[in-house]
């Protein structure tokens, strides 16, 4: 089985999730006889990165370079990668499930009339076939999914599904093959403009030792002070899931998750947060995680060290009272 891994870089800097995908490829390759893993790097002036990839245990490295690939566009990437795929003829194409991959990979697959199983958390190699595991219903269920029909098959893996530091190094350097990329400016419809961050952060949650985070379970902005008081008593800061910031109940700089902050405090208390993956990626590195949720099946309990199945409107006051007593 030929496995193509599309890595990700921006301005010459790796997105580390690409290495997790490379690990996935190496592990899948180990289960299939005669497998070849070929990572690709795409961009402009990225030969240095291709050299780095060549030190890993891979058959070959594809270098997909063009002036028009300097800045990401879905058209540019889809056209260039289609040419790389035509040359390599892979069976399986693995990608990290980044926002960039979400933006072009389904298009690339569809342009070949092929399907993609996106946002997988794992796989099982069975006789003659590979079963990919992904989440459904916001993490409340998992699903086993298999491909039908002829390759290539596209799969993206969620950040954190594999450990990037487990990548196997090669005994010898792999050869680098430059793909002849044919790309014209008029084929690219998107004009990418500047990257920016919103107004500067008022709080730095990454430095807080304790975070008390509220989710939609808090129900109304009037209830936020309950959690704020608890946070204060615990010597921590207030944090939130995305919907709370979307509603404007708390400022954006308190949002934890893939589109907000990534934190790893010694204590993370999740109050009325369901535990969708986009939230969990931002806090699962916390040393101790406590979840309070009225739904015993809430995915947040997947990552919690301590859990209480109950109503936060009973438990926040109870915790507050107990802390006040011991002060």
């Amino acid at each position: 089985m030929k496995i193509l891994v599309i890595t990700e870089q921006r301005e010459g800097k790796w997105n580390p999730v690409g290495f997790e995908t490379l690990v996935a490829a190496q592990q899948i390759a180990a289960t299939q006889t005669g497998s070849r893993v070929t990572p690709a790097v795409i961009g402009k002036d990225v030969r240095g990165l291709a050299e780095e990839l060549a030190a890993n245990q891979v058959a070959e490295v594809l270098l997909v370079e063009h002036d028009l690939l300097k800045r990401y566009t879905p058209d540019g990437f889809a056209i260039a990668l289609r040419q790389a795929i035509a040359q390599l003829q892979p069976d399986l194409i693995l990608l990290p499930h980044t926002y960039q991959v979400r933006d072009y990979a389904p298009k690339l697959a569809a342009s070949l009339d092929k399907g993609m199983i996106a946002d997988c958390v794992g796989y099982r190699a069975e006789k003659e076939r590979i079963v990919f595991v992904r989440q459904m219903f916001q993490g409340k269920t998992a699903a086993d999914v298999t491909f039908i029909g002829a390759p290539p098959w596209f799969v993206s893996f969620q950040a954190g599904a594999f450990r990037g530091d487990q990548v196997s190094r090669g005994a010898t350097r792999a050869p680098i093959t430059a793909i002849k990329t044919d790309l014209r400016p008029e084929q690219i419809r998107t004009t990418p403009l500047e990257l920016f961050r919103e107004a500067k952060q008022a709080v730095d949650l990454t430095q807080a030792p304790i975070l008390v985070a509220v989710g939609r379970g808090i129900k109304a902005p009037e209830n936020i002070p309950l959690a704020a008081k608890l946070a204060k008593l615990m010597g921590g800061e207030l944090a939130a899931s995305r919907p709370i910031c979307d509603e404007g109940w708390l400022p954006m700089d308190r949002q934890i998750g893939s589109s907000g902050q990534t934190v790893a405090p010694k204590l993370y208390l999740a109050l009325g947060i369901s535990g969708a993956i986009q939230h969990v990626v931002g806090m699962k590195g916390s040393r101790t995680i406590v979840a309070i949720n009225k739904d015993q099946n809430a995915p947040i309990f997947e990552v919690a060290d301590y859990g209480i199945v109950g109503d936060i409107f009973e438990l926040i006051p109870a915790l507050t009272e107990a802390l006040e007593k011991t002060k």
Binding site: Y99, P106, G115, P299, A304, Y306
Partner: protein
Amino acid sequence: MKVAVCIKQVPAKDAPLQITDSGAWIRETDIGFEMNEPDSFALEEALRLKEKHGGEVVALSMGPQRTKQVIKEALAKGADRGIHLEDDKFFLLDPLSSAKSIAAALKKDNFDLILTGLQSDDQGFGQTGVLLAELLGLAHATIIMQIELQGQRLKLKRELESGWFQWVELPLPAVLTIQSGINKVRYASLKGIMAAKKKEIAVIMRESLGIAGEPTQRVERIYVPQKAKRTEFIDGSPKEAAAKLLEKLRHEARVL
């Protein structure tokens, strides 16, 4: 401007999910359904574009009979007409076949703009909008947090990871996938609800579209995931549980 909004009806956030014996889908009886969250933001964005620039907003939803409800909701909020792409077994479709069906239903209307949510809360493919763009030959941009119409071009604010954003420009016609939080969604007014009763919902049976070709993938089984981590559950009355938790955080985890 002629805008289509793709709206999926998904189980309500707090619906207790039970998987069917065959493991193919969830039991749909006894649970509530609602508009997929980012889709309600997409609808709001479409209505605002129409209010500013004129035109028409068409709400499309694919799914069983129950799906009509979200179309009615969209009409009550101000969409002009609806398309119900009916299929009782929509959950058996792979992302590509599902998108091919929606693309076929949208094609002849020649929309200037097609909006979808960035992801559905049930199947969560996170692909449909991008697939529609490719199938219809349109430009696209994903995870959009702001839309500015400048003549025949769009200036868009894309959300990237970890608090980063990017401005991009695109020509119309285009497909955009909308992120939650882009705007504040409106409620339907009583007047809107009354007016909706007179609006048209075209029903297309999905099968009649004759989308050919093998599916590209198959969901073999849906199941409750195995826990990777051992969570220590603390029970008792709220008061007891609170005391026990604090005790554990102080002396076992030593984080307080």
